[in-house]
Symmetry: D2
Subunit: 288 residues, 4 copies
Amino acid sequence: MTSLAELNRMDPAAFASAVGDVFELAPWVAEAASGRRPFATVSDLHAAMMEAVRAAARDKQLAFLRNHPDLAGKAAVTPDSRREQASVGLDSLSPEEFARFNQLNEAYKAKFGFPFMICVRRHTRDSILAEFERRLARDEAAEFAQALQEVFYITRLRLAAKMTGEGMPQVNGRLSTHVLDTHAGRPAVGLAIALYELAGERYHPLTTAITNADGRTAPPLIGGRPLPIGRYELRFAVGDHFRRRGIDGGDPPFLDIVPLRFSVAEAEGHYHVPLLCTPWSYSTYRGS
Amino acid sequence: MTSLAELNRMDPAAFASAVGDVFELAPWVAEAASGRRPFATVSDLHAAMMEAVRAAARDKQLAFLRNHPDLAGKAAVTPDSRREQASVGLDSLSPEEFARFNQLNEAYKAKFGFPFMICVRRHTRDSILAEFERRLARDEAAEFAQALQEVFYITRLRLAAKMTGEGMPQVNGRLSTHVLDTHAGRPAVGLAIALYELAGERYHPLTTAITNADGRTAPPLIGGRPLPIGRYELRFAVGDHFRRRGIDGGDPPFLDIVPLRFSVAEAEGHYHVPLLCTPWSYSTYRGS
Amino acid sequence: MTSLAELNRMDPAAFASAVGDVFELAPWVAEAASGRRPFATVSDLHAAMMEAVRAAARDKQLAFLRNHPDLAGKAAVTPDSRREQASVGLDSLSPEEFARFNQLNEAYKAKFGFPFMICVRRHTRDSILAEFERRLARDEAAEFAQALQEVFYITRLRLAAKMTGEGMPQVNGRLSTHVLDTHAGRPAVGLAIALYELAGERYHPLTTAITNADGRTAPPLIGGRPLPIGRYELRFAVGDHFRRRGIDGGDPPFLDIVPLRFSVAEAEGHYHVPLLCTPWSYSTYRGS
Amino acid sequence: MTSLAELNRMDPAAFASAVGDVFELAPWVAEAASGRRPFATVSDLHAAMMEAVRAAARDKQLAFLRNHPDLAGKAAVTPDSRREQASVGLDSLSPEEFARFNQLNEAYKAKFGFPFMICVRRHTRDSILAEFERRLARDEAAEFAQALQEVFYITRLRLAAKMTGEGMPQVNGRLSTHVLDTHAGRPAVGLAIALYELAGERYHPLTTAITNADGRTAPPLIGGRPLPIGRYELRFAVGDHFRRRGIDGGDPPFLDIVPLRFSVAEAEGHYHVPLLCTPWSYSTYRGS
């Protein structure tokens, strides 16, 4: 980790060595930003780097985009790229999935002349595929702008991971829940929760938790990172909870595992998805 | 169909021919009931037949129970038995399932000396298996009483299917829903609903429906028959509904397919499972 | 009551005598409609009478409007007018209220040249005053049209009260409720409900009811008449209900009398205002 | 304010001067506690004082109780008593109310031989009257114990107001709310809230607030003091909120002022009473 204060004092070579690889194979971005020092915030540093990209000639921008590896391709050349693609499982695709990505990559490059850019840490596999198909249908101007925007998301995350200091960019989202037993008028304590990500028709288990004395989970279900855009299902063991309390909810119980299915659209947002339940009713809402 | 009025006037032979097969291979039950005529209601007729079984000597009751075929076995000897077992898919088990039922049948008969009786029309495959395992663990007195009770459920349904007249026994349950769009303050019209039965971890599709102008389905999702005891999931295409109304609920929408998962415990009950929804919240409850 | 079939067969004098007083002191309206017979529905008859008014010269329309008594005035000349004004308490105003209405009547007539028309059976005292002040601020064209519309509401009700036959106009609204005890998963039976109309800051009691076995009231809280536009409060004795069930909801109970306050905007609409409650939570919605 | 550390080091005379008046006209309580120093927590100090009262002979306890002034009486002799009684309006009763309290005081003293003790800061006028009538009906043993318990509530509050240090006793409750606009899926910002206390059939306004960016009020509606036991009504200007958002909720709006009426039973509890609303529905619950 480098502090913003140090970075502001470095000689140009040290600065380039510290943040030159944030923009993939494009040390010129950091060079341009170097002269704009000192920065009051890490967000200002990122803004200066984005400005350098936006100010570059179209040819240089295009060459920069072309330097990026294919999504899920074999040739992710930098360690950052490799790590990011692995984070969402793109390094362990089935042969069919690999073929599908390959086909989309080729079609995209054939149409637009640069590889498909997406900040994978902000997405699930499902939403990457959905975006790929949606963006393939758009026109070149929209896609060129979107490709740069995705680069900015990626580099904002890289910078946030490298730096400390004032004004860190907002890169993290949060998924939290809260279970209220409105039969007892109290938080539901010790209730088991499981979180799944939907991929097509399948459910990938992400995490499990048990509610604490306030009916919440600590830490949040997802936190300290972008909240991947996609579909999720939370499952609450409501039947077990009321059985432990000795409440008759039918045999078998009217409510046993309660599923809440929802989508995340804002990777930096806070999604609070509470459950209010009795043995015979429940409700949920996007809370705050 | 035979009317109760006719049945009350028949000579004993005609009466035996009309309802003698209601109790499996036990014409003596109808013979005993014949002398108690006339019956004011079809339920009274069934009560008289149940009374004949209850009044019989223990040996005769046992012989009667032993005349019933194994559940899911090859030897369902009467057309009624075959039809009933087919209704819940017991005629099309996988080899593993067939082996499992076989093993349970043998264990049950070895322990109790009579075959496992269950009114399959009141159950799902899941709840039949759950009952089988639960009842195998009980004592003989409890199971003997339960076996007769199941016979009474079965014969009540057979009688209800054969007869018309006053005081028909209550054999049917009902599953209904109602979708209110509390964003608009109106019933949700034209919203697609799918109903699934849960069998282990799998979902068997049962039916689909589209809500009418009052946000309901006509006919009810299940009606005119017992409501099989078991687990269900209703899925509501909430995302499509709000998209058609032009309401922004996020991209992807926070709520798309809303699943409600619940169990039925009373086969003759009315389960009303409504959905109140906005693009950002929903609630459900066992209604009436 | 006169049947539509009879009316269609009457000679012109009998027809005039039967429905000539529906439009206040304007027998010419019925005369014009008489020649359009036979009518397939009562609504068609009303449509023909409205058409006669719409087709009249502006002078004749104005004279017709001027024949109507002042709202809450001393000179309601026809029995229908007197009865209608009494129904909403306009015959028993306090001196201050009488003065207020007098002042509004004079201002209205001074501005528009005809008395303030409003179908009082579709309103509460509160909404009549609100309408009076709102409409006083509008322009003459809008008010002339509104005055005729109010005449049509009034005469539709008069006709519906006199006639029987096919195609009766829809003049009635309905206010109903339903109480579900989601703590028990059953309708709340025997729960006391009181309905109030809000007038300024005061609450006028309208009716009380006790929920039946299905958690509803029979008959509906308001039915068989227009639902007066205005503000209402329903009060539910939720604390007593749970006390009778022996459920601990705190001492004093967290929820005792639960008030639901809402407004009616459509006098011919169906307002279903249910309550879902536990000792610790409740919800309501405009249902159907 | 005195710190616990100082108090632990004081000579007996200074100690008596610092906390000798916590128990009304009973310096012997502090004297007994003085010898038990040092105390690790302020709660331990209070426990030692309560222990001194409990260990005293019955005569001494009775004399101590008799030293307290009548509730709402003219003779509240100490400044603490006067302030406490004023806090709940007992210093400004109407002649009728004063007569009612006088009558209850006399009846209570005639029955039990000591004045009615109640920690008025934990109550509303309504709940004081309710307690008075309830406790007047009980037997002497129960009331003697209750009188001491009320003294302990009173002295715990006095001590908490005088002292700083480790382990302060829990004397404060909290009333908070949160408004979620489930039509928009966001907190309702800038929504006006008014809080009333119910006294008989009347509503006494307590406070008003406007929701902040998170849909909450800062500070809480009641905090930093015991939450008076009694009945409350929160009123939310839901109609104005949706009007500002440009959402059509009917004219007049189906929901305008939404009242939530609830009771507080635990003066040291946290009552979170949120509102989830659309223009056509709302729900509330005791949250956490």
